[in-house]
Point group: C2
Chain length 238, copies 2
């Protein structure tokens, strides 16, 4: 807690909104502030009281725009889902689906702290079902029948969920055992894990992701420039 109002009368600061020229509270302002708060402090710091402090209002004022914290979380998830671009209609269907997978992964990296909520949140808002419908239609173009399209959508979704969670909250950054084993123990007891460690490093994540995606979706088209060294990677930004 570095800079938390050294003023002796914090209530004077909190009054700013009503007395001063502060813009009125809006849903968008609250969503932006919440995303910033989560990005800075993680989900552990995401409380309505902290959010009120960031917005210079009382926590309970937020209930005027969002009837509960759950409604606000829905707004955050919608914001993240809506941040994904529409797939480029000029690409062949299989490449469009591959792009969607890369765009989803890019989204998980744009909202790393929020992603553990996004991953298991039902997408049954208008924004959410629009994303699902759009993706299912591309899958249908790829497979040519509804059943295979549904299964491809689902298995690709499992894979994207797991990848995003592992990369944002999992082995690399997630909660560790309170008393983890040390490197000497690994070297002694787990030789295959020791030999695998270099392929688990962050620099290998792109190649691993593309390998799994190719297995689920079919191989990517031959690279235009030869001999890139197998580092396909996620190139698109947003």
């Amino acid at each position: 807690m570095p800079a938390r109002a050294p003023s002796p009368k914090p209530s004077a600061l909190l009054k700013r909104r009503r007395g001063g020229r502060a813009p009125p509270l809006t849903r968008e302002a609250i969503v932006e502030a919440a995303l910033g708060l989560i990005a800075r402090e993680g989900l552990g710091g995401f409380s309505l009281r902290n959010l009120g402090r960031a917005l210079r209002c009382e926590a309970m004022s937020l209930y005027h725009l969002f009837p509960s914290k759950q409604h606000l979380v829905d707004g955050l998830v919608d914001h993240a889902i809506a941040s994904m671009p529409a797939p480029d209609a000029k690409l062949p269907p299989r490449e469009r689906l591959r792009r969607i997978a890369h765009d989803y992964r890019a989204m998980s990296r744009r909202y790393p702290q929020l992603f553990s909520i996004i991953a298991v949140h039902r997408l049954n808002t208008p924004t959410g079902v629009a994303f699902i419908e759009r993706t299912l239609r591309v899958a249908r173009e790829v497979t040519g029948d509804d059943e295979s399209a549904a299964r491809l959508f689902r298995t690709m979704g499992y894979y994207l969920m797991g990848t995003g969670l592992d990369e944002t909250s999992g082995y690399a950054k997630g909660p560790s055992a309170a008393e983890p084993v040390d490197g000497a123990y690994i070297a002694r007891e787990c030789p295959q894990l020791a030999r695998s460690a270099k392929y688990f490093a962050e620099g290998e994540w792109d190649a691993t992701f593309d390998a799994g995606l190719a297995a689920l979706l079919g191989p990517a088209p031959a690279m235009r420039k030869k001999k890139l060294g197998g580092k396909a990677g996620t190139r698109r930004r947003r």
Copy 2:
């Protein structure tokens, strides 16, 4: 909260442990009680105070066996990981790896409420790294080289993580939008989603899981009895 001590003096009940013949508190007893509490009430009900009530002791007594709630969570994850059987050494490597995947999925269904914690928990206890080492060795037998083995382990892990989360906490059972769209909206705006709904039903989960696993790992060996209708499923129990 159906049956919560109608007695007018709950403190008398809490005293039972010290005065009576109650067995002493052990780590195992606490882990079992915590798993039961989570299974009954979900992670939302998993507090040290509730756990103390289930064990008829003060919440603070738990600190004697586990220095923090995080240490207890490590114990729960270890318990779940240790519940998976060792793979049958008589099977060919690829089938052994497929079994491990099915065993992991079975574990996620044995601890559905806990699984959202298991999925992102680093497995760096002795039990955890033993599971990783054992699985990596099978993957190494399948691929024949360390790099492909590491990537196969990782991508299969992503897939298992996503599957387990989706089946235990995701679209089917997970948190819903506070104000979801209704069926009429889906039928009108999302025809491909409407056509896909039947393949998303719980009865299709086994077939979908096996389809994705076959894509990542290679097809399962031909079924012994012909014309089973594509419903391979997860047969082993534990």
